[in-house]
Amino acid sequence: MTLQITDLRVYYRTLAGDVRALDGVTFGLADGEIMGLAGESGCGKSTLGNSLVRIDGRMKYVAGTVTLDGATLPISDNDQMDEFRFTEVSIIPQYAMSAMNPTRKIGRMVGDLLESRGVKFGDMRGELERRLDLVGLGADVLDRYPIELSGGMKQRMVMVLSTLMNPSLLIADEITSALDVTSQRAVAETLVEFRERGFVKAMIVITHDVSILYQIADTLTIMYAGKLAEKAPTRVITDEPRHPYTRLLVSSLPEVGVRFEDRRLTGIPGTPPSLLGPPSGCRFRERCPLAFAKCAQEPPFVEIGPDHSVACWKAD
């Protein structure tokens, strides 16, 4: 499978105008690739993830194309997207564990979902139980109500649900943030397992936690203020980042072993620009220690090495 996103722009409608949450994003995803999408709050990563599945009332599709396996995804048309959801593109939304209807047994909910896709529950039952077993949930979970499960269990249940129809592309939106540290590892490793077993062909894992991405992602994409800052294989991003923002981000993470008295880490001073009327030129200009005159002109997102693209004039 291949995913190609070209100049995608999705804005939010607000009373004060359009918030340019996603402002021209271009990249591709190869078969079997787990791509981590990281960045601070408001950078547009969740918008990107959500727009590939469902553009809701507040969002406005402005421009850009998304092609999956050569076919264009009609992301601007909710009805047309219906046939792609769950079968080609699927999402594990943020706070998915709260997404299960608390008044229905889980098995019934799965049945409803499958029926809406025209698949009989009975036909899928065997596969469903195999997958539940794989993630460490017994088949009896289908007879329970969501409230009877712990956070980690619910998350794994939703993961099984979202991948039941073997979508080509899976988007995981902050699926580990609300979990305890021990469940986080189980959930993250389950994602990789899904890819290994071929349930899903490629994934976009959205999170602010770069350390988790280090563990499971093949490539990392860093976003800033609605645009892509850098995309490269994971080790390259963590060991040899080229974009100043990526560099500052990576160096501000306290790893086990670093102590305040020995080496005082620094954050990134300032705040991201408002996306209501974003500044022209490079959006990181205000906070960038390397900013110079040319930064008044927006740097293009160009490839500077094998699979390594950066949007910075100073990157080479």
Binding site: Y12, R13, T14, L15, A16, V19, A21, E40, S41, G42, C43, G44, K45, S46, T47, N50, R54, D56, G57, R58, P93, Q94, Y95, E174, S177, A178, H208, T271, P272, S274, L275, L276, G277
Partner: protein, 326 residues
């Protein structure tokens, strides 16, 4: 946990970087959002502006408020247009509406319009007084039970349940047996004392949920007393809910009063819309085809209560953005 642009409990509609988003049934308190980017002041739309923007555009509110305003004008202007005792016998007996008597006259020659205008005033007063008393009791009980919890909560709950379960009609019959002469305010007080339980329950529930918010803890470790916490921290966050509760109690009081009047348990003097209908039925207005006697008060009651409820829905949509059909 870190939902990028959310201001409230995360749902897709809340990933919009709005000024504030208010989740929860009717409460206006945003809750549990995550780290967000800072924005320049010019970009954020203050909550008040947003509320006013939608208020002026909400059809339901405008229609509801409009109807109420018209009726209020009639009530206020009535005594000037038709001075004198509305129950006086002034005109021809049982006359249909005419230029002189806009709503015609009753079997006894009383001016129906004068009665209507006076009845409206009485109805508004009953609503305000009855609703006001119920609101006061309901809020006190609700806040104290919700904030204190424990034994206090259990006791207040018991009281609430008892009042809820008492058959108000039976109680009223007993009261009327003792009070042979009853005015409007006795009726209003009675309604106020018996219709507060649901409000107390609802406010208690909201208070419970707000009490767990961290700003309440912060107020407590700043040395604020319990009352200060309730009135300065919790209540302002429920202001829209309290307002809506009052509107519902207001409308409810009017409806109860009209029903009581209609079955003859209302005030023994004065007029009200319910009394008008009571009299109309008692004197066979329907059979005699005197539609002008019972239709105006009927429409009047329906219009007030209906307008209030419609306004309530409209206001709820404003205070609770998730209900808006955008």
């Amino acid at each position: 946990m870190t939902d990028p642009l959310a201001g409230g409990r995360p749902l897709t509609s809340e990933t919009v970087p709005q000024a504030t988003v208010a989740p929860g049934a009717g409460a206006s308190a945003p809750s549990a959002p995550a780290a967000r980017p800072a924005r320049q002041p010019s970009e954020t739309v203050s909550r008040r502006r947003e509320v006013i923007h939608f208020a002026l555009r909400g059809r339901k509110i405008l229609v509801g408020a409009g109807v109420l305003l018209v009726l209020l004008v009639i009530a206020v202007a009535g005594p000037f247009l038709r001075p004198g005792d509305p129950n006086a016998f002034v005109g021809p007996l049982g006359a249909p509406p005419s230029a002189e008597y806009w709503f015609g006259t009753t079997t006894f020659g009383q001016d129906v319009f004068a009665q209507f205008a006076s009845g409206l005033t009485a109805t508004f007063l009953v609503g305000l007084t009855g609703g006001g008393i119920a609101a006061f009791i309901g809020m006190t009980v609700g806040f104290v039970a919700g904030y204190r919890g424990g034994v206090v909560d259990d006791v207040l709950n018991m009281i609430t349940n008892v009042i809820l379960v008492i058959p108000t009609l039976a109680l009223l019959l007993v009261v009327t047996a003792y009070l042979s002469a009853r005015g409007l305010f006795v009726e209003a007080i009675f309604i106020g004392l018996t219709s507060w339980p649901w409000a107390a329950r609802a406010i208690r529930a909201q208070t419970f949920s707000l009490k767990t918010r961290e700003f309440v803890d912060l107020a407590r470790i700043s040395g604020a007393s319990s009352w200060r916490v309730i009135f300065r921290e919790i209540a302002p966050n429920m202001s829209s809910y309290l307002f809506l509760t009052f509107i519902l109690l207001f409308g409810g009081s009017i409806l109860i009063a009209a029903s009581l009047d209609f079955i003859g348990l209302g005030p023994t003097e004065g007029t009200s819309l319910g009394l008008m209908m009571y009299n109309a039925v008692a004197w066979s207005a329907l059979q005699l085809g005197m539609w002008w006697w019972f239709i105006p008060p009927g429409i009047g009651i329906t219009a007030i209560v209906g307008a209030l409820y419609v306004m309530n829905v409209g206001l709820d949509e404003i205070f609770n953005p998730r209900l808006r059909e955008s």
